[in-house]
């Protein structure tokens, strides 16, 4: 398994980290949203289609504790987005050979 885990921790409304990641990540990679990056998982946001249109290219994950902290547990997330806890975060890091953090 040689795919890469991309980690996004910036809001897509404020920074272009996710844009750049979606442009440069190789299909088959995984993308994990953490901290302010979890705002990218909001299902009713204007940019939601940008992610849902790439579901076949990437596996998308979002960190549950960061979703809950920001009050997003009561809002629909983008369909196909998998919520993971901290243990799931560790598993993802362990399962991928390389991790890239888009700071």
């Amino acid at each position: 398994m040689s795919s890469m885990l991309h980690i996004i921790n910036k809001s897509p409304f404020e920074r272009n980290s996710l844009d750049s990641c979606l442009r440069l990540a190789k299909p088959g990679s995984s993308i994990l949203l953490i901290e302010d990056g979890v705002y990218a998982s909001m299902g009713k946001a204007t940019h939601a289609e940008q992610i849902s249109g790439r579901m076949e290219d990437f596996s998308f994950y979002v960190l549950g504790p960061d979703v809950a902290a920001r009050g997003l547990s009561d809002t629909p997330l983008i369909e196909g987005m998998e919520v993971v806890d901290y243990e799931g975060f560790v598993d993802l890091v362990a399962e991928h050979e390389v991790t890239q953090s888009w700071l």
């Binding site: 921790n9 302010d36 705002y39 809950a68 920001r70 806890d85």
Partner: protein, 129 residues
């Protein structure tokens, strides 16, 4: 009480605090909230604005137990106790995130950018974070 205190401030200025950052990821949102609450003690004409990711500060149902940080979203409710009643949220910012006023922890005045522009123009001091 000293005479000058009873008289109140001689000059009342219009202060606007503009919140544009999401909570928790950075310290800006909490710092601005604290500044507003301190400044409210000085009997000035205070407005607080939330736009861009700043609207996320007011999202209901925040639960920070999983990230080990203090949930300060309930503190926005104290703005009313401090007589800070002019709280504006930009409609365009809510729309972009698929949010409405019902998603927010306190009652606010939702204003379109066009209207917010006029309110901003009327201020003496604008502090942005």
């Amino acid at each position: 009480m000293e005479e000058w205190e009873e008289a109140g401030p001689e000059v009342v200025k219009r202060f606007m605090y503009v919140n544009r950052r999401a909570p928790y990821g950075t310290i800006y949102a909490l710092e601005c909230l604290e500044v507003v609450l301190v400044a409210a003690a000085f009997d000035q004409d205070v407005s607080v604005v939330f736009l861009d990711d700043g609207v996320c500060q007011l999202k209901k149902n925040q639960d920070t137990t999983g990230i080990g940080m203090k949930n300060y979203s309930k503190t926005y409710g104290a703005l009313d106790d401090y007589d800070v009643e002019k709280i504006y949220v930009e409609k365009e910012s809510l729309d972009a995130r698929g949010l409405t006023a019902d998603d927010l922890v306190i009652p606010v005045e939702v204003v379109a950018a066009e209207e917010l522009r006029e309110i901003m123009t009327q201020q003496d001091v604008v502090i942005s974070s």
